[in-house]
């Protein structure tokens, strides 16, 4: 258990160092924090049910009463947006929890065992990377349309999200495996398990965090993509679903109700950029390119 608290403390320290030392991380993390607050701390105070129709007057442009306007479905866009942020982030978090850990596990196995197991695993991983994930998800979600909920959607997206983390962890483990200190640890009488946890993990954890962030990014992108196809949880709020209704039901642009579309699109852009900034901030910290 000591190692768990130790690695948690290390992660906390890492976050602080990163926040202080890396501008990209600081910008990304700040935007992200605001989004998280909107999604999780503010959205529970919504005065209206963001999933019902025709609760407020329709098609109102942004005003004092409705800061982001209202939609043709009669929803207050501000509160719908907050709920959407929460749901989109939750779906992505589920994906990241599943996919990045599958990736971690498979990457470790491939990297440590090597040989035939490595080759088979890597062939499957590469195949998953080559074949486009969206069409596969289209088939699966079409079949499962009736059963889509926040956790199941998160799980489904992880079907196509694990290969990148797995590849990353494997190459990391492969290069670490040949480092001298691994031999020193073995010669100090440490067992394989302890070598993995105490010698390899500290190195891999940083990358795992980056993989986790990237998977969140990927998952939000995939969810909103599926939503545009009508393959997300259409009776709930997510950022993608907002776009879906605005485009397909409201014809928001043809009818000039631009604020209905602008709010989720702008939020998505912020989400993507902030997660990406966090991710490259961490990468730059972990792996500084030699400055000339």
């Amino acid at each position: 258990m000591g190692t768990v608290t130790e690695s948690l403390r290390r992660m906390g320290k890492l976050l602080i160092t990163l926040y202080m030392g890396n501008l990209k991380f600081r910008i990304g993390f700040t935007i992200l924090s605001i989004l998280v607050i909107l999604g999780f701390a503010v959205s529970p105070f919504s005065p209206t049910n963001t999933r019902s129709w025709y609760i407020v007057p329709r098609d109102r442009p942004p005003s004092y009463e409705y800061p982001l306007g209202t939609s043709s479905m009669g929803r207050d866009i501000l509160w719908e947006l907050c709920a959407s942020i929460r749901n989109s982030l939750t779906i992505a978090f589920v994906t990241a929890m599943i996919a990045s850990h599958i990736g971690l596990f498979l990457g470790f196995i491939a990297g440590i065992r090597g040989g035939v197991i490595d080759r088979i695993l890597m062939f499957i991983t590469d195949t998953f990377i080559i074949i486009p994930g969206l069409p596969l998800l289209m088939v699966v979600t079409t079949v499962l349309k009736r059963y889509l909920t926040i956790p199941t959607l998160g799980m489904l997206i992880s079907i196509v999200s694990w290969p990148w983390p797995s590849r990353q962890v494997r190459s990391m483990v492969l290069s670490l495996r040949e480092r001298t200190f691994i031999h020193t640890a073995k010669l100090s009488g440490m067992g394989t398990f302890r070598v993995i946890v105490q010698e390899l993990m500290p190195y891999v954890l940083g990358w795992h965090l980056i993989n986790f962030t990237n998977t969140i990014l990927f998952s939000i992108g995939t969810e909103s993509g599926l939503a545009i196809l009508g393959l997300s949880i259409l009776d709930d709020n997510t950022l993608g679903v907002m776009i879906y209704w605005a485009l397909n039901w409201g014809y928001a642009l043809f009818r000039g109700i631009w604020w209905w579309l602008a709010a989720p699109v702008a939020t998505l852009v912020l989400v993507f950029i902030s997660f990406y900034l966090v991710s490259i901030g961490m990468t730059e910290f972990m792996h500084p390119i030699a400055r000339r």
């Binding site: 500084p288 400055r291 000339r292």
Partner: protein, 334 residues
């Protein structure tokens, strides 16, 4: 070539911990020496003593973190043209001095060839760019030089990865002598090679120097290499030259305590007598010690050594050392 009071060092940049940003590493601290035509000059010293930095500074190849702090390095071309590499800007050096008058053999030179370019094109680009030679003619010239360094003609159309390490090393030597410069700076030209390939490369360098009658500077941490190859040599310690002289004198009559330790710790075949090395480690060049930089490790250290810095003085003809042991000034701090 004359080097006077050359000072250069590294300004640390933002990598890793931010505490060290802007700290200056005093890698080369006021180094002066003179080189003559038709000689092989060695620069010896241990890792981190500044010998590679010295070579880069003399050559004028400054990476962004490397800064010049003073001094000059004048080189003279075959017809007596004078260039001061510390006063010329990069573009001018590239056009007028580099490779025409002075060439450079970098460290780990087995891996310095472009992996996606054939060997002959490495020759051709230099000849085309520096001399304006036509491609076909340049290939002919390349063939001639490859034969001179003992490589088969096949190697011309090979890519670097198809040659062995020793062969690539010889290609780099051939490139260095291509424009018959009056000065060749070789930075650890053989440290990555096995003894046999090392011997091939070093004798080759020496032969070419004899043929061109120019000046060859060999930087190496291996005293053995200096012992068999160089005419004169300098010993560097912590950014300063502590001794200069004829190689034979340095080996058989060393003056500076550091040189003595280096020579004494050199193991020799057929001699099993006990050899003792130095204790301690070289100083941190971010904050070098006062006085003589060797005094914390010196077995003969005196009071003055920690207070004042000894200057390089001629003790015997052509044999200089920077040590208070050989000074009348001992006991009277300046």
């Amino acid at each position: 070539m004359i080097v006077e009071g050359l000072k250069a060092g590294y300004k640390l940049q933002t990598i890793g911990s931010s505490e060290e940003v802007g700290v200056y590493v005093d890698a080369v601290s006021g180094v002066s020496f003179t080189l003559y035509r038709n000689e092989v000059f060695g620069i010896a010293g241990e890792s981190g003593c500044g010998k590679s930095t010295l070579i880069k500074a003399v050559y004028g190849y400054y990476e962004p973190s490397l800064v010049l702090r003073g001094g000059s390095a004048r080189i003279y071309g075959a017809k007596g043209e004078e260039f001061d590499t510390t006063r010329m800007d990069r573009g001018l050096l590239e056009k007028r001095v580099w490779w025409k008058h002075m060439s450079y053999i970098p460290q780990s030179s087995m891996n310095v060839l472009n992996p996606t370019m054939r060997i002959r094109d490495h020759f051709a680009e230099i000849l085309r760019i520096h001399v304006g030679m036509k491609k076909g003619e340049a290939y002919q010239e390349a063939r001639k030089y490859l034969e001179e360094v003992g490589l088969p003609v096949d190697a011309l159309s090979a890519f670097p990865h198809q040659l062995s390490g020793g062969m690539r090393q010889r290609v780099v030597i051939a490139l260095a002598i291509l424009l018959e410069p009056s000065l060749i700076l070789a930075d650890e030209p053989s440290s990555a090679l096995d003894v046999i390939n090392q011997k091939v490369a070093l004798t080759l360098l020496r032969e070419k120097q004899e043929a061109l009658k120019n000046t060859l500077v060999i930087v190496s941490h291996d005293m053995g290499v200096h012992g068999v190859l160089t005419h004169r040599m300098a010993i560097m310690y912590a950014g300063k030259i502590v001794e200069i002289g004829r190689t034979a004198d340095i080996f058989w009559k060393p003056l500076h305590p550091y040189t003595k330790a280096l020579i004494e710790s050199l193991p020799r075949l057929g001699d099993k007598s006990k050899r003792v090395g130095l204790s301690g480690s070289p100083p941190d060049l971010k904050k070098p010690p006062d006085g003589c930089r060797f005094h914390p490790r010196c077995p003969y250290a005196m009071l003055i050594c920690s207070r004042a810095e000894p200057s390089l003085r001629e003790i015997k003809e052509g044999h200089y050392t920077a040590c208070w042991l050989y000074s009348e000034a001992v006991g009277e701090p300046r």
